[in-house]
Amino acid sequence: MIPMPATPSSSSGVAASSSLAAKLLDMLSSPGEVFDEVVAAPPRFANWLVPTVLVALASLFLLRASSNEGVSVVTTSQAVEAQPATLDSVTVQAEPGSVDSQSLSALATCGGAFAGTFWSAFLLWFIGRAFLRTRFSYLKTVEVVALTGSIVALGAIVTALLIGISGDPATRPALSFFARHLPSTNRVRLLLGTFNFFHLWIITVLAIGLSRLSGVSFKESAFWVFGYWFVARLALILLG
């Protein structure tokens, strides 16, 4: 008896393996096909490393653009976070525009890209395992999440350009763009900020990825992915 492959059967008509650059470009137009190919192929180290590095570089570019426009400008949610209790609790404070602070931000950005990739992959894998009752490889999930990095990178570049045009480091490609006159702690502005075009795109692509990995319908995977990455964020703002 011939053993069956462990991968899902959704990739019956998969073409020959495309290059990583092609995959990253195809993610913008036809992510489902890219995921089909990734799911069918054996795990590849470059599939998650290169997109994650790309995200880190694009985020560094955005960080530079933000710090150039306004060193001491506090973004919307940072304003919420910077409570008086936390500000006076530490004896030594870093100046936001200082070299140390910039290095730290750059380090955190790069670290966040890698840690975030593995965390999101874990979440998708857990949703599949616990709620959808399907089993798939964690490494494949890491690849799927990392490949969405091309959209993340594009979003970072667009955001940097928007910041350059508007001169406001808090500008985002979100509905909050139309409510810039509101204070940054305003709940409505925070809510509108959640409707970020690129974030919604990424979430949709993640839902497609989960659907391909688990073999469940897009509706079901979208419920969980949107439920966590979108509704839970909205709920945090509304309930907080």
């Binding site: 710090s67 949610s77 870093a94 730290l104 985002r172 509704v231």
Partner: protein, 586 residues
């Protein structure tokens, strides 16, 4: 609704009610029932209180109704199909009833529950309602609606494939939780989420749908990073040290697991033998038999006793003594406990008396010191008495072991009182023997007056007898139930009752002590207060109370305690006599 099903439901309900009433004869069920009644009775007693008025406010009622509805929906959807009794599946399902009739039959108990609940709640909130009956009817009908929703959800869930049902169940639970939280936030201003949850650092949890530099530039992250810099090396050291320890322990755990997995030993054969042994021990424990002899079945035979004391019912005493002699584990345990107890007691006495010898004679003769010495030595006597409950558990030579022979004992030509006395004699004797090890040095050091010595000598058997009698009531009841094929092991509630009872049996004696001490102290001209031992204004009166009052008080308390012991033994004998242990009689 079919009349036959209605009759069936009514007949079953009647039988269940009668069964429940009969089950109230069991003390544990009765206590649980009284507890529930008490839980209902307390709010009913305070039903006019202001808090009950708040509970029937519009907002609370709406919240409660929403929670009930959502809860019913989730609870119903949680199970696929309805739950029936096994006989219902066998008889009702195969009978010519329509699906609607069967569903109605299944809902009938729920309707009754809704009615009772509506009436109870209406009675509870009646003082704050303008139309209590209307409220009761409304509550009942709303509860019935919830039952309908729940049943419909269950039936719908039954039509779904199992995997799909599981996924939908999780979705429904998540959505219900979110909606409930939003409702509480909107209606009651309840914040389930702390303020830091919308900080950029927390937003990292939603990667990749985040703007990374926003989180990376967060002040909180920078502050946290600053604390790790060498400028605050103390904090860093404090963090690093535990991390280092934790890492070392984690490494040790990992290495040991790796070594364990690499161990090439046969797992199955030794495990089989050990498991069998453990199962046998568990079985013996359930049957109330001794664990120590689980592996031993052989013992040297002993010669017949020559003393006439061991004739008749005394043979049981002899048998238990023999069992005690052969139970090396119990004897060793008791010896260790006694040695530790008596050793610490002697050390304490030696230390205190060395210090007393150093004091001057005038000081030793003062009433404060005399009373202090007496109180200290009486405290040590109490300390020795506390040994009894522990030792009682160690010596199982009573109905714990002989519970299996109840049927044989019933055929013996001995009165039940003599038999139960014989049963408790050996553990009581063993406990007293161990206590003597602590008591003898105490008497030697304390040099009590002879009336107090006599009282103490008689007090220890009273205590040991009371404890053994109470616990043997429990053992006898358990043995009876076991012999009748009921419970295999005693219930937690039952054990708890026995523990409480083993304290309560001393309450009459303690109350007598308190009463006599107050009377006699007043007569002697001494005021007994909490700091009475310190404030000795009238030393002659105190000394008079010491030499006459305390012995008389002790004697009175002892008399009451022996009376209680006698009553306990009578109860034990009565229970032994009346116990129905044959299976046919149940």
């Amino acid at each position: 609704m079919n009349r036959a099903l209605l009759y069936l439901w009514f007949a079953l309900l009647k039988r269940r009610f009668l069964d429940f009433v009969r089950s109230l004869r069991r003390p544990t069920t009765l206590i649980a029932f009284i507890y529930v009644l008490g839980l209902l009775g307390v709010p009913f007693w305070f039903r006019h209180h202001e808090i009950f008025r708040h509970l029937v406010e519009r907002d609370i009622l709406i919240t409660g109704a929403l929670l009930m509805l959502v809860g019913s929906l989730i609870k119903g959807f949680w199970q696929r199909g309805l739950v029936f009794e096994p006989p219902d599946i066998e008889f009702v399902f195969t009978s010519p009833f329509t699906q609607r009739q069967v569903v109605c039959y299944r809902l009938l108990p729920n309707y009754l529950y809704a009615l009772v609940q509506g009436l109870v709640l209406a009675a509870l909130f009646a003082p704050h309602l303008s139309h209590p009956l209307l409220m009761a009817a409304g509550l009942t009908l709303f509860q019935i609606t919830c039952f309908h929703v729940s049943t419909a959800a269950s039936l719908y869930a039954g039509t779904l494939p199992e995997d799909r049902h599981h996924r939908l169940r999780c979705m429904m639970l998540g959505a219900a939780f979110l909606l409930t939280a939003l409702y509480f936030r909107a209606a009651w201003e309840v914040r389930f989420v702390p303020a830091f949850a919308i900080s950029p650092v927390v937003q990292l949890l939603f990667y990749p749908a985040v703007t990374l530099p926003e989180a990376a530039s967060s002040p909180a992250l920078h502050q946290w990073a600053l604390r790790l810099t060498p400028t605050s090396s103390l904090w860093l050291r404090q963090l690093l040290q535990p991390v280092l320890y934790l890492s070392a322990i984690a490494l040790a755990a990992g290495v040991s697991l790796w070594s364990l997995f690499r161990l090439k030993a046969n797992l199955f054969e030794p495990s089989l033998a050990t498991s069998s042994h453990a199962a046998e021990r568990r079985q013996r424990l359930r049957q109330g038999r001794d664990l120590a002899t689980a592996g031993k079945t052989e013992a040297h035979s002993a010669g017949l006793p020559t003393l006439s004391l061991f004739g008749g019912v005394g043979a049981i005493v002899w048998k238990n003594l023999l069992a005690a002699r052969r139970s090396h584990r119990q004897l060793l345990l008791a010896f260790i406990l006694t040695a530790l107890y008596a050793g610490s007691l002697v050390a304490l006495l030696q230390h205190i008396h060395t210090e007393l010898h150093a004091a001057s004679l005038d000081k030793l003769a003062s009433p404060e010191v005399v009373m202090g010495r007496l109180a200290f030595h009486l405290g040590l006597a109490f300390w020795v008495a506390i040994l009894a409950p522990f030792l009682q558990r160690i010596f199982p030579f009573d109905f714990r072991r002989d519970g299996r022979h109840l049927l044989d004992f019933r055929t013996l030509p001995a009165s039940p009182l003599c038999l139960v006395l014989a049963e408790v004699a050996v553990p009581v004797g063993c406990v007293l023997l161990c206590q003597a090890a602590g008591l003898v040095p105490l008497f030697l050091y304390a040099r009590f007056d002879w009336p107090i010595v006599l009282i103490l000598i008689f007090a220890y058997p009273a205590v040991a007898l009371a404890l053994n009698s109470v616990w043997n009531l429990h053992y006898l009841l358990s043995a009876t139930r076991r012999a009748a094929g009921h419970a295999q092991s005693p219930s937690v509630v039952g054990t708890l009752i026995v523990v409480v009872l083993s304290f309560l049996v001393f309450v009459p004696a303690l109350w007598t002590t308190r009463f006599l001490a107050r009377c006699l102290s007043e007569r002697a001209g001494v005021a007994l207060t909490s700091d009475g031992l310190q404030g000795l204004a009238n030393s002659d009166a105190w000394l008079k109370f010491l030499h006459t009052g305390i012995p008389l008080t002790g004697a009175g308390a002892l008399g009451v305690q022996y009376l209680v012991d006698f009553l306990l033994l009578l109860a034990l004998a009565r229970l032994f006599q009346r116990a129905e242990i044959s299976r046919e009689s149940q």
